[in-house]
Symmetry: C2
């Protein structure tokens, strides 16, 4: 089944204890769809400037993605983000943000409207609400960030009432619910609207909550973590891509999708920028899926 993603296309400059990458490809929609396109038919929407490189778009096209919703602003620059990670690299410090083309709302083509699966990447909740007016999917997931929890809570609460799923990180889950214990935070988030809540915990893996299912996975045990940028969006892309491929959100499929999200994120963190996901193949993801299964499996 097809899967629409609305989000950012970016050019990042990143510093980690393992090095520095200047003016490299980034953006939530890019990480998301490089992961999701290994599983299903992805349709991208978002804005780029004339400086956005062609290579990742070519890769996406080869993987069957639909780029009709990407609007190029010829006289403007792509969204830029500069960030730094230190120590255990669990949190990025943002050094600089230039919104550039992101000030314009994304345009969603007619051909996207009835896609059953949708991911609204991290954007202002009012932009997400605008997209929700157009998109008619039955499995609409959204991400958010602390900035919106602090500055646009009422709009964000409206988003939560309308979406089917929420994917956010542990700090955001705690901020949004006031619960420090993540199991309680997950349960509180379900009460705010979505039927499915995923709390990402970086190096500690992820939780999934529905009314009927609590599920957890550790991160994939890669020993090469170089740059965590985009890991969360790659997780979301692997998760929703696999779910869209399987079609139905049964508990068993949600579990398997979580595993695919986990291995997609592991491909991203092993390299700077989108290199890991651009080079990834489906069979590599399938191999890691089996290794992850072995990593957590025990007999009764």
């Amino acid at each position: 089944m097809s899967l629409v993603v609305v989000g950012s296309f970016g050019i990042d400059t990143i510093e980690t204890p393992f090095g520095r990458a200047e003016d490299v490809v980034g953006g939530s929609a890019v990480y998301f769809s490089l992961a999701a396109s290994l599983f299903s038919h992805v349709k991208l929407a978002g804005n780029i400037g004339s400086d956005f490189p062609q290579a990742p778009l070519q890769t996406l096209k080869k993987r069957g993605a639909d780029l009709d919703g990407i609007q190029t602003f010829a006289d403007q620059a792509t969204f830029r983000w500069t960030g730094r990670y230190e120590g255990e690299m669990n949190e990025a410090e943002t050094l600089r943000t230039e919104l550039n083309v992101l000030v314009e709302p994304p345009q969603i083509p007619h051909t996207y409207i009835h896609s059953p699966f949708v991911f609204l990447a991290n954007m202002g909740p009012s932009t997400q609400l605008e997209a929700l007016k157009t998109l008619q999917g039955h499995s609409v997931f959204a991400d958010t960030m602390n900035l919106w929890i602090d500055t646009a809570l009422a709009d964000l609460q409206q988003v939560l009432e309308k979406v089917d799923g929420l994917i956010l990180n542990d700090a955001e889950a705690r901020a949004l619910t006031g619960e420090t214990h993540l199991i309680l935070a997950g349960e509180a988030l379900l009460k705010m609207g979505p039927d499915t809540v995923i709390i990402k915990k970086g190096e500690h893996g992820a939780f999934l909550f529905t009314e009927a299912l609590h599920f957890a996975l550790p991160a994939y045990p890669t020993s090469q973590v170089v740059d965590p940028t985009g890991a969360g969006d790659s997780f979301a892309g692997g998760f929703l891509g696999a779910l869209a491929e399987m079609g139905e959100s049964t508990p068993e499929n949600l579990r398997r999708a979580m595993a695919y999200g986990t291995v997609a994120a592991s491909m991203t963190v092993e390299h700077f920028s989108t290199k890991g996901l651009e080079e990834a193949t489906r069979s590599e993801l399938d191999q890691r899926f089996q290794k992850l299964r072995d990593f957590v499996q025990f007999s009764s």
Copy 2:
């Protein structure tokens, strides 16, 4: 098979966001053996003062534990610890420590010497080395803490060369290896001597490393976390107790023992002090074991 534990018996005063408990039962050997005695024949060694309460010892006796190695110092006080947890309760702040009877080395009865399984709870490495001269077990596990990494590293390195297994927390694993990434830290610890390394991550679960096996579990998804004191020792007790019951440290048994360690820790954190483990039954642990399995299981 029988399982010797050498460690502390304590009287704790604990403050958490959920309340305060004054002069309650604590100590690494107590948490450990209350968990382990639900699985196998535990033999305790350590020192108490005349003020140590009888109730937990009665419970241990009822569970078949051997108390011959507990030395009572009639004219002295039991080890006391006062600590506080805040926020996410991932780390205790020690407010006060009174060693009292802990300044005397523990005495190990003759009948303990050939027990195949051994746990040397957190103690000074020189005391652990002394115990290692006496005990002849084939599966000897040790715990440690940052204090010894900072002040007695050479002795600790000797301990690591002699033991079969090491159980420590994430901060200690990072401090001891200089690796921030825990997968690398686990691999580095294996090179220091032990065949089995367990890194405990509190609310994020635990990793197990052997040369042949990498394994991970999240924490058991209890929604009631009141006091994390003793969770790590309860984990170790459930792990080694179950392993001693199964007898052989095969990869499959190590996985199952990790799961029992995880559920034993969950019983502890739900109440102040040792209440959870004193009231726990084997069938309750078995039920949680199955729930934990369901919590992480996905199909290929």
